[in-house]
Symmetry: C2
């Protein structure tokens, strides 16, 4: 989105994204349609179709707007601490009511706009999180691949919450972080 802040385009976007959040909170993902969002935002549905394409495009833009360009990974002073804090963020975002992340994941199985938005978003987040690994290079074997370590640290959260549909587990963020750090220290993610 390249809208001038405060311009008409930006105002329409804010109205529409607010409507998505409100519809999601009141009626859930399955009931979300371009029509109900347009009606709630007070804009014509062709405006929504033209700009966002479908429900997936709307959710992706809500997520982009929420995540924001200023997100940065936690900095707690230790690798395990940073990964634990990151996992808590993931778990909180997925179990929030309503959860835009959960809706976007569900939408990604129906909408290419949602799928590509989700991939772009995760790619962006993993790229930013590489800073967490860079800060900890002195405790890791040379050649440790940052992305592989980050995916290993966060994957159990996604698997349990999204696919196994387990409730939030307060011990899991720390456990998954410690497991990934032990594996990394043992050389599991070294790529030479």
């Amino acid at each position: 989105m390249t809208a001038r802040p405060g311009g008409r385009t930006a105002r329409v976007r804010a109205q529409v994204l607010d409507a998505v959040r409100a519809e999601l909170a009141e009626h859930g993902f399955d009931a979300l349609t371009v029509e109900t969002v347009a009606a709630r935002a007070g804009v014509h549905r062709t405006t929504v179709y033209r700009r966002w394409g479908d429900v997936g495009g709307l959710l992706a833009d809500v997520f982009d707007a929420t995540g924001g360009d200023d997100w940065s990974p936690p900095d707690t002073g230790s690798l395990t601490g940073d990964l634990t804090a990151l996992n808590h963020e993931i778990q909180d975002a997925y179990t929030a009511e309503p959860s835009v992340m959960a809706a976007l994941i569900a939408a990604s199985f129906r909408s290419e706009a949602a799928e590509s938005a989700q991939r772009r978003l995760w790619d962006d987040r993993y790229a930013r999180c590489e800073a967490v690994v860079e800060r900890a290079r002195h405790v890791l074997p040379p050649g440790t691949d940052a992305r592989r370590l980050l995916v290993a640290a966060t994957a159990p959260l996604y698997h349990r919450l999204v696919l196994l549909r387990e409730p939030a587990d307060p011990l899991l963020p720390g456990e998954a972080a410690r497991a990934a750090v032990l594996a990394a220290e043992g050389g599991a993610f070294v790529r030479l």
Copy 2:
């Protein structure tokens, strides 16, 4: 399913599940409907609705029938070897053309029958895989939780394939297995 093998019920089931596989192979998951499956199987669609409920129920039964009651986890002689072989099975099943597993996961976001079938199936598979950990107790710290170790070993496969939509990575099954074993040896999954 409690159909007598060889009876009429079992024959109808085989016809219908064959039709699901064929439709999936030819037209993909998005085009799969109870109507097209019933037509292809030569049975009335009310028979399909009554017995399987929806597309999710059909996919779940294909998966149950495929997995079979005789599935057992790999036994290669080492914990890392067993988990690597298990991860190769997961990766192969998910990237097969067509993949019933991929279709069932997609369906689980639209159909409660598919969601509960998927949970039941994974629960069954993880329960059977606990034998892999039991065989390796002598190399693991006392109190190591088998399920947590198994989920950690397999989660990166699901995360990369299902959510990040990455292509199959021939190195990932072994890497994820080794990472989980290193973490387990370090005590990451001890529950006292």
